[in-house]
Amino acid sequence: MTMFESYSLDSRTLAGPLEARLAAIRQAGFGKVMLDARDVVSHPGGVAGAVAALRASGLRPAGLQTLHDFEGLSGPLHQYKVEVAKGMLQTCAQLGAPRLLVSASTLPHASTDLAQLAADLHKLAMLAVPLGLQVAYKALSWGQSVRGFLDAWDVVSDANCSNLGLGLDSFHMFANGDSLDDLIELEPERIFQVQLSDFMGELPEPTAPGQTTRSLRVFPGQGAHSEQLADLVLRLARLGYTGDYSLDVSNDDYAQLPAEHVAAQARQSAGWLNDDVLHRAAPLPHWTRIQANTR
């Protein structure tokens, strides 16, 4: 029984050993997990242990996150970041995850030149090709120059590789004040990743990833921005986006709660998105397919 095959939950949203988190995510009915690289490498059995835990869980990986501050650097810093990126791409391939998520640079000395940012992401996409991976690039509201999703889209379009696409993150879109009217600019098949979270109260100024925001992020449908979130996913559906939704809620309170408790909240949220917002058709019961196949 899995109701939410096209929804994933971020591993970092839950607390506890990786096995317990994966079990809670599966138990709650999700088909996929978005893996945080820290959860993977900190497994007592190393990456191989994390891979085994993932296989045993029955969940499919939605992707690996997050490569930070990659683009716009030069000289030894660039070389250093390329090595970091290669390490993460190899982890991603070991996990059998389809893509690596990259967030826009926050470094003050990173270049703001669109051509250089695009060239760096082009290089990352090329590194990903022999490993069979995609790269999803997302804006950060506190990023150096790529703050809105259109900024990220400019970089992705300029780099122009079929395995490089856009990551959307509702938290950063709303915090940056992005206009949802601009979604029409995007090509739906180039949106590789959509991460959703809600927020209690007003969104903070997009200045820094401060601690103040950490206990106020909640699951979609459970905060003050549910209407905006519903508007976002409906616009994406109209645009032709048919990919997955990932629930990404880093919250200090959730870090102190049992994984099952938080996963149950996530399940409610996925139910709200699926049934109340998107009105997605429920899949037919399994026995109808078996009958159809034997005819």
Binding site: K123, M126, S162, N163
Partner: protein, 294 residues
């Protein structure tokens, strides 16, 4: 007279930034070098030299060099797939190997660490599809790479002529579903390959996408599984070598007389355009392709 710099006829320029100039060699890795050698000899290749330090043999016919690598570390990849030989490397001739390698790595290629022994030639390489390697060779004009790393087998003609004018026509790469565009972008970026139009196809197996090297000397064909082949979970790989010949009929007759078997079904059989040999050792087949214009 038109002023310089105008592009009145929109003639596309074909950049060749690495100075690519054909295929220097293709390498198989195998744990069964004798059995593979036998298959290659029926195809007209002759063993001409041995590697100085490893279990590696050089075969040749006409302008084609083919290396059989049974060195234990390299042959492991073959052991992984039920002892079937695998195409483990392709070497491109370039103008300046080191500069070409540096450029590829700057653009996002994965460099392969060299395992050259003392007094052996270091040939720079990058990772290719499915664990294969792409070598970049620039010593092909004044002397050859084989003079350094290989010892000629005494009494053997070092330049055996090609059967039926055979030469390297290209390679066929199997890719995962939906991955052709990614690989096309990769080969465009690294080697200035360009996609040939959909209606321009060679041989009798016209599926997939066909790329052309900027030197115009060889093709690179990308084939995805058909949508209904959901169970095809084979990893990406270099699947087979294409051999060009001015006369497919003559080549087929010659090869048949040497014991080579061809696929002969109602839908797939030798024609003027091409032919496909039956698989040997579970993985080794050659595609003959009619090459026009010499």
């Amino acid at each position: 007279m038109t002023p310089l710099g105008t592009d009145r006829e929109a003639v596309p320029d074909m950049p060749n930034r690495l100075g690519l100039n054909g295929i220097e060699f293709i390498e198989y890795a195998t744990t069964r070098p004798q059995a593979l050698g036998h298959v290659l000899e029926t195809m007209g290749f002759k063993p001409i030299a041995r590697h100085r330090s490893r279990e590696v043999m050089l075969y040749r016919q006409g302008g084609m060099n083919l290396i059989v690598n049974a060195h234990s570390e390299d042959a492991r990849v073959s052991a992984l797939v039920d002892e079937k030989p695998v195409i483990s490397a392709v070497a491109f001739r370039v103008k300046d190997a080191l500069r070409a390698h540096t450029r590829c790595v700057e653009l996002g290629a994965w460099p392969v660490p060299s395992h050259a022994q003392a007094m052996e030639l270091h040939i720079p390489a990058i990772h290719g599809p499915g664990g294969s390697r792409i070598y970049l060779v620039d010593r092909w004009t004044e002397f050859s790479i084989y003079d350094i790393d290989f010892k000629p087998i005494p009494g053997v003609d070092q330049h055996p002529p090609a059967l039926a004018g055979l030469d390297y026509f290209g390679l066929v790469q199997y890719v995962d579903p939906g991955r052709s565009e990614d690989w096309i972008r990769y080969y465009e970026t690294m080697f200035d390959f360009s996609t040939v139009p959909e209606d321009e196809r060679y041989g009798i197996l016209p599926k997939g996408k066909v790329l052309k090297s900027p030197c115009g000397q060889f093709m690179w064909q990308l084939i995805e599984p058909d949508p209904w082949m959901e169970s095809d979970r084979a990893p990406e790989n270099l699947e087979r070598i294409g051999l060009g010949t001015p006369d497919v009929g003559q080549a087929v007759a010659l090869l048949k007389s040497r014991g080579v078997e061809f696929i002969e079904t109602s839908s797939l059989h030798p024609e003027d355009r091409g032919a496909l040999t039956r698989r040997e050792l579970g993985s080794v087949s050659f595609e003959l392709v009619h090459r026009t214009g010499g």
